[in-house]
């Protein structure tokens, strides 16, 4: 910002709550302080002069705040707190150490913490729960039940009730741990149950979040408040409490209402005691009540400024307001069928301009007009003689209310705001003469209604004229047609197949440049191996996804004893001279697998050389201090005579050396033959391969690679989203990777994980031509292995954002240098 950019704070570390050896006595951990100071100095030396911030992991660590420890080494400019009150993981046991016993919808007191640690700073969450990640073994599709729209409703309002004025949701959009991006605690999906889903769809959680953020954007008085009380005394119902936030300058107030026990799912009706510029009132004054329906909170305003006018109070929440031709248009919203009462100061009369359901009633008093709608349904428009227009919307209507702005200013320029109701998404508005150019998405035929200055007489939607008519109360209305085409997706039934585990054979030649001799007798890793040589993959420059080890020995052995570590949910298998000897199948909560495999049934070369092949996958390095836990073979020994004489290792092509695929990047590939030789890439010639489909499958422990090419021709005036759906109808002792135009976009491990549906974004998928689909199927048992692969539509919406764009550069083709990595 200071240099014309748009970054306003800079977070130099994350969840590094290490300032104190003893927090109570404020005895610093000096190296941590020097580390933070060095990060700060580095940022400053590199010209970063915006405030530096930190995200403290919990309320115990009390680190890096100038208020808590003035001038302590390592303090940042603005301290912040991190919190996941409903757990950051779908595995709730991961959070009890920090949060205590899990209680759905149980809010947490942060107010005292901010008062203690950062009173002269904004109450600030650089991370607050946007959802939860889904670990291996977690439920298919994540765990949205307790972290959906109701979560967003209650918890973000609860932050506001505690005077928080800066929030960043983790995550707003989670995405996908494609390739080797995941740590062992998460599987392929990083959907996170975020407001925007992994497949980019928006739904109730997004809308609920939007409806609060639209409010906070225009509620200027909310940026300066004192919390004057927090009690059930504000409510006529002891099951409901309110926090009173009041702006000391304007006297506007915000009453954040919530169940006194926030976890309570009951529906509660109440009236609220408020203090306003026209006196102390109990609202609604005339009839009806305020309702909290289940897990719900409502922020009810008093003396809310709307331009030059004032909304004295409202028993429905304010969604947003705009000044249209200088006249305030306020949108209130509440549940279907609920009543609303509000007071427009200095009005003398009001009329109902439009509406369905019950009629509005108006009562004049010496301060203005009280208006009531007894059962809100759809949208009701009321007009007052002081030029205030009030729109009362029910929740489904409000979810589809938008406030795009003609300005690019982050502050709420309410006089540049246009109010739009109807579409699934309104992205933006611009102006061309007397036309308003709206852009956005519709998922069905939609009537759009626009509150805009009278000078605008026509509308376009995504560049097309829509015949807008002016309503009697001044809005523009038009119909928008949804996408009416049909997108038929190809079936995936014409496949080629090839063995991708030639390394199991004793005759395999591992002298190529893909292979490294494992000859280290020492390791810098703090965990020392039980046997030598060191067989940690990272020590040899291999880090991703899949590794192979070939161990040589002379003569006879009766068993091999192996300890292999690969991270949660990983697995390994072993072959001797080409024959399968056993597998560790994996466990979603175990990161190492130890087995002693008998070799008595394998064909040993008693007078010559034998080769043991160990194949393992790798779910990544562990978190934090555990990140140094090795990956690879921790110990390998033979029983019954022989000893290993040599080991060779391979992994992703070139390891840490030059990359062959700079576009997909260093985390995309592992060390399968198919990956090293580039079979997963578009342009590889598989014409010599046999034809067979993964749904036909194979019998026996081994790894096969399947390829097919499917065409797509997706229209350009839509945003379409697709997912691959994988099923294992026979053995579930499988480890499957899906490659889409060379990108590894799924790890489908049906025994240890439940994810079967894998969204793949446009650009990775070619929407305007051929798509190369690859599938590696590692069968870990001598059983029948089959995988069904389907491509399914997640959604199609008519959209200004076209999912069909030029993206060829993202999908570089196979090159012949791959041949060197056999």
């Amino acid at each position: 910002m200071t240099n014309g950019g748009n970054a306003f704070v800079y977070q130099i570390e994350n969840e590094y709550g290490q300032q104190w050896k003893d927090t109570a006595k404020k005895i610093p951990d000096e190296p941590s302080g020097r580390y933070m100071a060095a990060l700060e100095a580095s940022a400053r030396a590199n010209g970063i002069d915006v405030p530096l911030i930190h995200n403290d992991p919990n309320m115990n660590s009390k680190s890096w705040s100038q208020d808590f420890a003035p001038n302590a080494t390592g303090n940042v400019d603005v301290a912040g707190l991190d919190s996941y009150p409903s757990c950051w993981s779908c595995n709730l046991e991961e959070c009890t150490g920090t949060n205590g016993e899990y209680v759905a919808y149980q809010v947490i007191n942060y107010y005292d913490h901010f008062t203690e640690t950062s009173p002269t700073q904004p109450s600030f969450f650089p991370e607050f729960q946007g959802g939860s990640y889904n670990p291996w073994g977690g439920p298919e599709g994540g765990c949205p039940a307790d972290i959906g729209a109701d979560f967003a409703n209650i918890f973000y309002r609860n932050l506001i009730s505690q005077r928080v004025t800066a929030i960043s949701l983790y995550m707003m959009y989670g995405g996908t741990n494609w390739g080797a991006f995941a740590a062992p605690v998460v599987a392929t999906s990083y959907d996170y149950s975020s407001p925007i889903s992994e497949n980019r769809k928006i739904d109730s959680k997004y809308y609920e979040t939007k409806n609060l953020a639209l409010f906070t954007r225009v509620a200027e008085d909310l940026t300066v408040t004192n919390r004057l009380g927090n009690s059930t005394a504000y409510s006529t119902n002891p099951a409901v409490e309110a926090s009173e936030l009041r702006n000391p300058e304007t006297k506007a107030a915000f009453y954040v209402t919530i169940h006194a026990q926030s976890s309570s799912p009951t529906t509660e009706s109440f009236r609220l005691h408020v203090s306003t510029s026209i006196g102390n009132l109990t609202i609604p004054q005339r009839s009806g009540s305020i309702v909290l329906k289940g897990h719900q909170s409502k922020i009810l305003v008093t003396d809310f400024s709307i331009g030059n006018q004032t909304l004295t109070y409202s028993t429905a929440e304010v969604l947003t307001y705009a000044l249209v031709d200088g006249k305030p248009v306020v949108v209130l919203w509440t549940g279907i069928g609920e009543s609303v009462e509000f007071h427009v100061k200095n009005a003398r009369s009001g009329t109902m301009q439009s509406g369905s359901g019950s009629n509005a009633t108006f009562h004049q008093d010496s301060h203005g007009v009280t208006a009531s709608v007894s059962a809100v349904s759809g949208m009701t428009v009321l007009k007052f003689d002081n030029n205030v227009q009030v729109v009362v919307a029910d929740k489904p209507t409000a979810y589809l209310f938008w406030a795009p702005n003609l300005s690019n200013d982050p502050f709420s320029l309410v006089d540049k705001s246009i109010l739009v109701q109807g579409p699934y998404l309104v992205r933006d508005v611009t102006v061309d003469g007397s036309a308003l150019l709206l852009t956005g998405d519709v998922s069905k035929d939609t009537v759009v209604e626009v509150f805009a200055p009278v000078d605008f007489t026509s509308l376009t939607w995504n560049g097309k004229d829509v015949s807008a008519t002016r309503t009697a109360y001044g809005t523009l209305k038009a119909s928008i047609a949804s996408f009416s085409g049909n997108i038929s997706l190809p079936s995936l039934n014409s496949w080629k197949v090839h063995d991708t585990l030639p390394e199991r054979l004793a005759s395999y030649d591992d002298s190529g440049i893909a292979w490294v001799e494992a000859n280290h007798e020492t390791t810098p890793n703090p965990t020392k191996p039980e046997t030598l040589p060191v067989l940690y993959v990272d020590d040899y420059g291999f880090h991703n996804s899949f590794h192979l080890f070939r161990g040589y020995f002379e003569g006879s052995a009766t068993a091999v004893k192996l300890s292999v570590q690969g991270g949660l949910a990983f697995g390994w298998s072993a072959w001797l001279n080409g024959e399968f000897v056993g597998s560790y199948l994996g466990n979603s909560s175990v990161g190492a697998g130890n087995l002693t495999l008998p070799l008595t049934n394998a064909t040993l070369n008693a007078n010559g050389t034998n080769v043991l092949l160990v194949a393992q996958d790798n779910t990544g390095h562990d978190l934090r201090a555990e990140a140094v836990q090795p990956r690879g073979i921790l110990s390998a020994s033979l029983e019954g005579g022989a000893a290993f004489t040599k080991w060779k290792i391979t992994g992703e092509v070139n390891g840490e050396r030059a990359q062959l695929d700079p576009v997909r990047g260093p985390l995309n590939e592992g060390g399968l033959t198919a990956e090293r030789l580039g079979w997963h890439l578009p342009g590889f010639d598989d014409s010599a391969w046999n034809s067979s489909a993964p749904s036909t499958g194979f019998v026996g422990a081994g790894i096969l690679f399947y390829r097919t090419v499917i065409p797509l021709d997706i229209p350009s005036d839509v945003d379409a989203s697709f997912a691959f759906v994988l099923n294992a109808p026979a053995s579930d002792k499988l480890r499957v990777q899906l490659f889409v135009n060379g990108y590894q976009y799924a790890r489908f491990n049906p025994l240890v994980g439940n994810e079967r549906r894998f969204p793949v974004p446009p650009g990775v998928l070619n929407y305007a031509g051929d798509n190369t689909i690859g599938l590696s199927i590692w069968s870990q048992a001598a059983e029948e292995a089959k995988v069904d692969v389907k491509l399914e539509t997640e959604y199609v919406v008519e959209s200004s954002w076209s999912s069909r764009f030029e993206s060829k550069d993202l999908r570089p083709e196979w090159t012949k240098e791959r041949l060197n990595y056999a």
Binding site: A7, Q11, P31, R200, L212, A213, P524, H621
Partner: protein
């Protein structure tokens, strides 16, 4: 949740203002220090909120990890959705190099910054250098696919020169060099080493 005692409503004979007067200190901005970091006053803050260019802003932000959807064109879709939701900011971990270049808009791989500038309003990016932070973020798995070949080679060289052992898995923009910034502090050295070496900045 803080409860200011249990106050029977009927006992508040003088109404709610008595709560204000007796139960909580009612302060005003003039009673709290207005901070800046001494380097500029573009961004300020106090007890109440952030101020940008002297105006208070309610920061409603959401985090996206652009490398978890490695298609720059799609970032526009996400950023437009975040903007449409009324958010006044968004947050994404970036590398220090990206941050520097973003300020000058010279970077060939700063599409995320450009996208944010294009789709959100000014003053909205909230960057952190710690692509490697927190669980899967803890893996130094930056969006190295965003880098030019030249950048990538420089980083690879740096990585090869780096004798550290630990979570550094791949040559990435965020691997490297806190060897000298945080001596003697165990694994944190290799876990939290977001800065790029000055030599390639």
């Amino acid at each position: 949740m803080r409860i200011f005692g249990s106050i029977p409503w009927l006992a508040l004979s003088s109404g709610l203002l008595s709560i204000s007067e007796t139960r909580a200190q009612s302060s005003s901005p003039s009673q709290w220090p207005l901070h800046d970091n001494g380097l500029n006053d573009v961004v300020q803050w106090d007890h109440y909120s952030f101020k940008i260019d002297g105006k208070r802003l309610f920061v409603f932000s959401g985090e996206i990890h652009y490398w978890r959807i490695p298609v720059p064109d799609v970032w526009d879709d996400l950023l437009e959705k975040i903007k449409a939701a009324g958010f006044t900011a968004c947050k994404s971990p970036i590398t220090l190099r990206q941050f520097r270049l973003m300020a000058t808009s010279q970077s060939p791989f700063m599409e995320i910054g450009r996208g944010i500038a294009r789709t959100t309003r000014p003053s909205t990016l909230q960057p952190a250098p710690t692509i490697s932070s927190a669980f899967s973020r803890r893996r130094n798995a930056s969006a190295s696919m965003l880098l030019s070949d030249q950048d990538r080679m420089l980083m690879q060289r740096q990585t090869l020169e780096d004798s550290h052992y630990g979570s550094r898995r791949v040559p990435t923009a965020s691997s490297a060099t806190t060897t000298h910034v945080m001596p003697q502090h165990g694994t944190r050295i290799s876990l939290n080493t977001p800065q790029l070496p000055a030599s390639i900045l």
